[in-house]
């Protein structure tokens, strides 16, 4: 039985190289639920939540680099809330104040739940995850990191160091449906981000697919009906758009919701997000 409180990323690399079965502990909000319910019996743990580099974020060219141990509390307020607004919107919907105070963005990716609320936003933004090990760093996209339900491509000796998130000029939205308003795991969620420089729109879905995925057909379809100069959308395109967003999902039935409802809900979220960003116009 052993427990390590790491104080630098080099130390984390070394500890994992020495024994790759050692488990990473960040905020503990997923980890400890598993332990408390005896789904996990840890015998060798590395706590990374006191590593200064991992707790910081900083500007990095036209992106912002967010350390894996940055908490939701930090993302939802302060400068990050205006730099990456959809990420902040998403962070505000997570759990409760007690959870957001300690739970981290890296832990959300480490758990890799389809309901992880950071995931659709990071995917829509084309964020890159910087993975570290004793052998160096490698950079992957969100869908390269998360390969299935609670599955990642992390090797045993690797950990998530930081997430590099592009800073885009243009409105962003994150919307989530759950059974109640507070403290809720999502049934369906959707992130929509725009890039005014390139007149581009990206849409990613949460809780309705096993691995992170974008609504690519809906993205391509709606482009023809958008006027980027005045930020309007042709209203006649909305039913098809809603249908295409729904069809990009492949939801499951579970105790939280039926697949039919999830598919419907995510289409509605797509339309709602679109109409928050683009004003509807009737003529063709």
């Amino acid at each position: 039985m052993e427990f390590h409180i790491a104080s630098s990323t080099e130390e984390v690399c070394g500890l994992l190289a020495e024994d790759p079965t050692r488990e990473i502990l960040a905020g503990g909000t997923d980890f400890m639920v598993e332990v408390n319910f005896r789904h996990k019996d840890p015998s060798a743990v590395i706590a990374i939540d006191r590593v200064p580099e991992l707790k910081q974020w900083r500007h990095d060219g036209d992106a912002v680099s967010i350390g894996s141990c940055v908490t939701y509390r930090e993302i939802e307020r302060g400068p990050l809330s205006t730099i990456v607004p959809a990420l902040a919107q998403s962070a505000r919907t997570v759990g409760s104040p007690q959870i957001r105070n300690v739970a981290t963005i890296g832990g959300n990716l480490g758990t890799a739940s389809p309901a992880g609320d950071m995931i659709p936003v990071l995917l829509a933004l084309d964020a890159k995850v910087i993975i570290r090990s004793i052998d160096g760093s490698r950079e992957v996209s969100i869908d390269e990191l998360i390969t299935g339900v609670k599955e990642t491509s992390l090797a045993d000796n690797e950990f998530i160091e930081k997430i590099r998130v592009p800073i885009l000029r243009g409105p962003q939205e994150f919307l989530k449906v759950g059974p109640r308003n507070a403290m809720v795991i999502s049934i369906a969620s959707l992130a929509m981000v725009t890039d005014l420089e390139r007149s581009a729109i990206a849409i990613a879905l949460g809780s309705v697919t096993a691995a992170p995925s974008k609504a690519r057909e809906a993205e391509a379809y709606i482009q023809d009906f958008l006027d980027w100069n005045v930020m309007t959308v042709e209203s006649s395109a909305l039913p098809n758009f809603r249908r295409l967003v729904g069809e990009a999902s492949s939801p499951i039935n579970d105790h939280r919701s039926s697949a039919t409802y999830r598919k419907h809900a995510v289409g509605v979220l797509g339309q709602r997000a679109l109409l928050r960003i683009f004003e509807s116009r009737d003529d063709g």
Binding site: M1, E2, F3, H4, I5, L25, G27, G28, T29, F31, M32, V33, V35, N36, F37, K40, D41, P42, S43, V45, A47, D49, G95, S96, P97, Q98, I99, N101, V102, A182, M183
Partner: protein
């Protein structure tokens, strides 16, 4: 903190007192150690999954669910539990307000709520109803329907600000 195979040792600072802990299971939560090892039964266990907030404590001044803290990882941190609220029999303004509005019924949620509300009023002394509801959204109460709790926070906030008003005059 490398350990032999049989036990793990660490120290915890709780309400200003230092405790040496020796444990045979690494997975133990801070909540478990507070209650079963240190006899601090004020923090309640109602879910062990972060949903109810009845185990709320402050760790280095940050509100957290003690059931989701690996006890060994609380070492080197300043832990404050409900027991630290007052050191004699006197009640805080928030506790008085809870009594006044009848915000305590079965009482199971009360310690967690008190820790949460004391922390909240420190940073937001004059909150509106929406802010109060958001602040207590991690504390479940099965009895009161929250109306009396929200009312108690409003009363406590007023009481505190009139108290501070007196101080302001002197400047």
């Amino acid at each position: 903190m490398d350990k032999d195979n049989s036990s793990i040792e660490y120290s915890l600072s709780v309400n200003g007192n230092s405790h040496e802990i020796s444990k045979s299971w690494l997975g133990e939560s801070l909540l478990y150690v507070l209650r079963e090892e240190l006899g601090l039964y004020g923090s309640k266990n109602a879910c062990e999954q972060g949903e109810c907030g009845s185990c709320s404590v402050l760790m280095d001044g940050v509100l957290a669910c003690s059931c989701l803290v690996l006890a060994a990882n609380a070492t080197g941190r300043n832990i404050e539990t409900i027991e630290s609220l007052s050191d004699d029999d006197s009640l805080t303004v928030v506790q008085e307000a809870f009594i006044e509005t009848g915000a305590v019924q079965c009482g199971f949620c009360t310690p967690g709520l008190l820790v949460t509300i004391h922390d909240f009023l420190e940073t937001n002394p004059e909150p509106n109803v929406l802010e109060i509801r958001e602040a207590i959204s991690g504390n479940l109460c099965r009895c009161t329907g929250y109306g009396r709790i929200v009312e108690a926070v409003q009363i406590a906030s007023k009481q505190k600000s009139t108290g501070q008003g007196g101080d302001d005059v002197s400047s």
